[in-house]
Each structure stands twice: as C-alpha cells, then as structure tokens.
C-alpha cells in the first residue's frame, strides 16, 4: 500500500450555467518519503489537485486513499481532523497570525489536536529548533524577515508530525537567496524522511524534487523522474 493512492480523481464545479471540469481523472501513487513537485500552467488544475491532496475539498468522483484511509467521501469535520493529523500546509503568503508570537503560531495545530499546554510548548520549541529559529521564539511575524516567517510556517506544518507536507509556491514571496535557503531546508526535511509536495511554476524549484508531475487541462501530462 502506498502512502497516497489517487484513482481517477475528478472535480467539477458549477460556474453559473456552465460546468467547469477542473480535474478530469488523475491517477497517482506516492510512496512514503517521496519528494514530488507539481507543475502546470494556470488553469491546469494544480490548485484543485492540491486542495484535494490537502483534504480541503472532496472530489466529485474517484478515490483518494491517504495513509490507508479513504478520505474522498469524508464529512467536513472528519476532514478537518485528517488535515490536523496528516497534513502540514506551507503557503506562499506564509499565513501566520499577526498578533501571535512564532511559538504561538507553531502551537496552533496542537491546540486543535487537543494537546495540553506544556507538551504543546515543548513540541513547538522542538519544531522551531528544526528550522533553526530557536532564538526567535517570542518574536511576532512583523519582527521576522520573509525567510524567517516561512520557516515559522514550516515549523507549524511539521509540529503535528504529519504524513505529508504540502507547500504551495513556498518561495513565491521570497528573494532568490532566501528562496534557495528555504529549498535547502526542504531538501533536508526530505532527507530526514518527510514526504513532500511542492506546487510551483519554477523549473528550478521543481528540480529539487524526485519527480515532477506536469498537469495540463485537468490531467497528468507527464511524470518526470529527476
């Protein structure tokens, strides 16, 4: 059994009177510890696919088995729990809570997991250590650089020990130097055995992955081994 098994995944929306087919049947298997990049022009279904992988949405048809659980037909609150336990999100715009410190931001998934305050704190500190931000624990996002903010976001994504890490254009808002540093961090996470998905439109970013999935018109065009 692979970590991720996607079979004939389809997603369509009603847009006014028209039916938009965002995903027209995607098959994909990903093993634990793999590093996958997803590329494709806008409108190719990238975002839709990422949302489905991240359990933010359910498919119109098809199957998605994550870690032996069929999540394609789950109800909203069950999906929330899956997101909490299995998935770490990294967003292009970091999406940190502005009023909260780095530590509090990293603790947030643990709050919804119902972890007690002491354990939450120590786990969040460990996660910040992993991304080399032990000295920024009490800083708020506006006191951190862009690269540091994205590292806080990665620490937040890791704190729950998720099965997969989903990064949506993680370097999109960073300059090339900090972008390169962040990609180095992702590489090291991969080496430590984390399963990574990176959505990007930059070839250089995608090259860090083991395989590059190219989407076009809601279908997988190629799967390229790097």
């Amino acid at each position: 059994m692979s970590l991720i098994e996607v079979e004939q995944l389809k997603k369509s929306y009603e847009m006014g009177s028209e039916r938009v087919h965002a995903l027209r049947g995607v098959d994909l298997q990903v093993e634990k510890g793999e590093y996958v990049a997803i590329m494709g022009p806008s409108g190719s279904g990238k975002s839709t696919f990422l949302n489905l992988l991240g359990c933010l949405d359910t498919p119109t048809s098809g199957r998605y088995v994550l870690n032996d659980r069929d999540v394609s037909t789950m109800a909203e609150d069950d999906l929330a729990q899956v997101r909490n336990e299995e998935i770490g999100f990294v967003f292009q715009t970091f999406n940190l809570l502005a009023r909260a410190t780095a530590l509090q931001n990293v603790e947030l998934p643990l709050v919804y997991a119902g972890v007690g305050a002491d354990e939450r704190r120590s786990r969040a500190e460990t996660a910040l250590e992993k991304v080399d931000l032990s000295d920024r624990v009490t800083h708020r996002p506006n006191e951190l650089s862009g690269g540091q903010r994205q590292r806080v976001a990665i620490a937040r994504a890791l704190v729950n020990n998720p099965s997969i890490l989903l990064a949506d254009e993680p370097t999109g808002n960073l300059d090339s130097v900090t972008g390169a540093e962040l990609l180095g961090l992702l590489d090291s996470l991969h080496e430590k055995g984390h399963t990574l998905f990176v959505v990007t439109h930059e070839r250089d970013v995608a090259k860090h992955a083991q395989s590059i999935v190219q989407l076009r018109d809601g279908q997988i065009e190629t799967i390229e081994r790097v």
């Binding site: 933010l56 336990e85 999406n95």
Partner: protein, 426 residues
C-alpha cells in the same frame, strides 16, 4: 472531555487577545451593555434598599393596628380622584369613641392634624424659635399605638386629655433645636401663641427610606387641647370644610379579622351608606400598605426590566455588527485555522466566546458602575441601598447571554466558511 476544556480555555485566551488588540472598537461596542447592566444593578440596589426600609417602617406599626382615615395613599393608588375623596364625610372624635365600644377593639387613638400644611406652627423657648412643625393632637394612647419610644419624661395621661391640659411631648427635632444642653422636662414653651409645659420627648421615628423626611419635626398635644386652640383643622374646598382626623384602632389579641369587619360595619352605619355604596373612608392596615407597596415596586421593577432590555438589545445589535465585521476581516485567519484542523464547532466557539467575553467585560463594568452609583447615592443622601449578590450574578449572566445570542449569527457564518475560499480571501 478534559481535552475539550483545555481547548475552550485556549479559545478564551485567543478571544481575549483579539479584544485587547481592538480596544477602542471593543469599548464602543459594549457601551449599550454597560448601560443596561448599570441600570439593572444600580436600580436594584436603590429599589431594594428603599423597599427594605419601607417594610421595616410599616412593620413598626404592628401587624394588627387598623387605621381609619377619610382617605389615604391607598385610595390614591387605587386610582380615585382627589376631588371625590375630599368630599367624603370627615371623621370625628365621636367615631373613635364609637369604635372603642366594639368588643373586638382594645383601644383607639384619635389624631388631629398631621395632614396638611395649615396645622404647622412654630415652637419657641427662651427667645429660640423652631421652624414650622407639625402639631398633632392625640389621645393618651398615641405613643403606645404607634410604637413610639418615649426618650425622656412621659406621655400625657387620660386625665390630662380629659381636662384639656396644655402639655406637650416634643419630637426629636424641636427637642434638639430648643434644648440642646438643658433638661426640657417642666420647661414652658410657646406653641403658636399659647403656653405649654414640656412633659416628654419622643425618640427618633422610623421613616420610609431611612432618610430625613421630617418625621421628627413634630410636637404632640392632647387632642382636646388641640380642638380648643386650633379647632379641628379645616381646609375649605368645594365640597365643604375638610378635616384631618385619623383614628387608630388596636384590636384585641386574635380578633383582628373580626375587628376589621366590625369597624367597617360601624363606620358604614355611622355614614348611613346603603348596601350598594362603596366605603367612603379608608381602612389602612399593614397588609394593605404592603400590598400596595408590592404593586408599586413590581411596577418599578417591570419598567426597569423594559429599560434595561432596550439597552441590552442595542448593545446586542452593536455586538452583532462588530462580530460580523470581525468575521469578514478575519476570513483568511478562519481559512487558516480550518486548514490546520479547526472543526466547525471550534470556529463557532471561538467567535461565540469572543462575543461573550466582550459583553461580559461590559457586564463587569456595568456591575461596578451600578453598585458604585448605588454607593455614591447612599453616601451623599443616606438613601438606603441593598446590593444583593444575585443582582451581580444576574448582570453578569445577562451580559454574557447577550454576547452568546447576538454573536451566534456571525459565529455560525464563520464556522460555515469554505476553507479554500477563506484562504484565498485577502
């Protein structure tokens, strides 16, 4: 369940932080709630305080004593017109004598004066003069019937009443202004233009509300003497002269009901009333006074509830508006929280707790302001207050409920947001 409680505490902390970050807006939002709760707590303190001291005063009259009057506050409260009341026949000392002959009545007291300003006169002693006081003429039983303590000397006797003796018993006010340092007993004072001998001093009298309503600005003389000096005081009105006569009857032990019935019958016969005619006099008992008082305070409480409900409603609408704004502003945050694993009910609770915390803060402020107002009034005017714990609990409970009720719609909206849409929202 332990986990859920921890989560709730976490949500409450988050809510407090949000409010701290928006101090000005939060403060403006809760003004309505503050006013509502201030009104509830403050008015409860004053009304309850007044209520207690009024009841205390009425109870001093004794549960059995029956007052017979031409009219009283009772008839006003039951909605009768003054012009009709003033046309009722006057009571006379003869009425009192007739009542005293009843088997069920132990004794009666007749009181002349004490109603209108025309019976107010000055007392003077040794060049000192009091302000205008209430002079009342009574029988020897006045102090006994009204449970008025005699502080010095004695009250006048039946024989002094019979012989129209010029003796006077002073209230606290004339006593203190005329005889600050000296023993008043046996001294000669002038009441209006006649000489009287002081034979006693009454202790302070209870008053409704405990503040000075002039209840001690009084001097008591035998009613027979009063008739000689002042006549029965009369006020010329369209229906004929009006006289202030109050009869106090104390029933024999255990005969209160019978006494009430017999007094009513006797008075109806003496006034020649037919069966279908209403009483043209008032029977005043402790019960009746308390009953009317209850009605009055209930009306006050009811209007209080209405007023504070309006204030709380306004406050609640403010909370609803501000929470709706808050949800819109933080759509992205809601999306993020959902992505990180927040369930619907956790988002719901976050916003509900936030709204309730907001209004509860208003409630705390209202309780402080309300009890502060009560205390201030008490310190300045001596008006009695009562600060029952339940009015605090009520205030806090109400304010939190306003937050929960009016925060519900925005919170539900927040909990139902689609995480993808919300995350895309800037």
């Amino acid at each position: 369940m332990k986990v859920r409680a921890a989560l709730l505490a976490e949500i409450a902390t988050m809510a407090l932080e949000t409010l701290r970050a928006n101090k000005m807006r939060s403060a403006l939002t809760i003004v309505g709630v503050v006013i509502g709760i201030t009104a509830i707590v403050g008015m409860t303190a004053l009304v309850r305080g007044f209520d207690r001291s009024f009841k205390g005063m009425v109870e001093v009259l004794g549960p059995n004593t029956v007052f017979v009057a031409k009219f009283s506050g009772l008839s006003f409260m039951s909605g009768k017109e003054f012009i009709d009341l003033i046309r009722r026949p006057n009571l006379t000392p003869d009425d009192a004598r007739a009542l005293e002959r009843l088997d069920s009545v132990r004794y009666t007291d007749t009181m002349l004066g004490g109603g209108f300003d025309d019976s107010r006169e000055r007392l003077s002693y040794d060049g000192e003069e009091t302000k205008r006081l209430q002079i009342i003429g009574t029988t020897e039983l006045f102090a006994q019937v009204g449970y008025i303590p005699i502080e010095q000397g004695r009250f006048f006797t039946a024989s002094e009443v019979r012989h129209r003796r010029a003796v006077v018993v002073l209230g606290q006010d004339p006593y203190q202004s005329l005889f600050p340092m000296i023993d008043p007993i046996g001294k000669q004072v002038r009441v209006a233009d006649q000489q009287y001998t002081v034979i006693g001093v009454m202790g302070p009298r209870p008053s409704p509300g405990g503040f000075n309503a002039g209840q001690d600005e009084i001097a008591v003389i035998p009613y027979t003497r009063y008739e000689t000096q002042f006549g029965v005081p009369a006020l010329r009105v369209s229906g004929g002269p009006h006289r202030d006569v109050t009869i106090t009857a104390v029933p024999r032990d255990g005969q209160r009901a019978r006494a009430l019935r017999e007094i009513e019958e006797t008075m109806r016969i003496r006034h020649g009333l037919r069966l279908d005619e209403e009483n043209d006099f008032d029977l005043i008992t402790q019960d009746a006074m308390l009953r009317v008082w209850e009605q009055t305070t209930q009306a006050v409480f009811l209007s209080l509830v209405v007023i504070s409900s309006i204030a709380l409603l306004v406050g609640g609408i403010g909370v609803m508006a501000i929470m709706t704004m808050s949800v819109t502003e933080r759509t992205n945050e809601i999306g993020l929280r959902k992505a990180l694993g927040a369930r619907r009910r956790e988002i719901l609770w976050q916003f509900l707790v936030e709204a309730a915390t907001l209004t509860l803060a208003g409630g705390v402020l209202g309780v402080l302001l309300g009890s502060g107002t009560g205390l201030l009034v008490h310190l300045v005017s001596g008006f009695p207050i009562s600060l029952p714990w339940w009015s605090f609990a009520l205030g806090l409970g109400f304010s939190a409920s306003v937050g929960l009720i009016f925060g519900m719609a925005p919170a539900i909206r927040a909990s139902r947001l689609d995480p993808i849409e919300a995350l895309r929202h800037e």
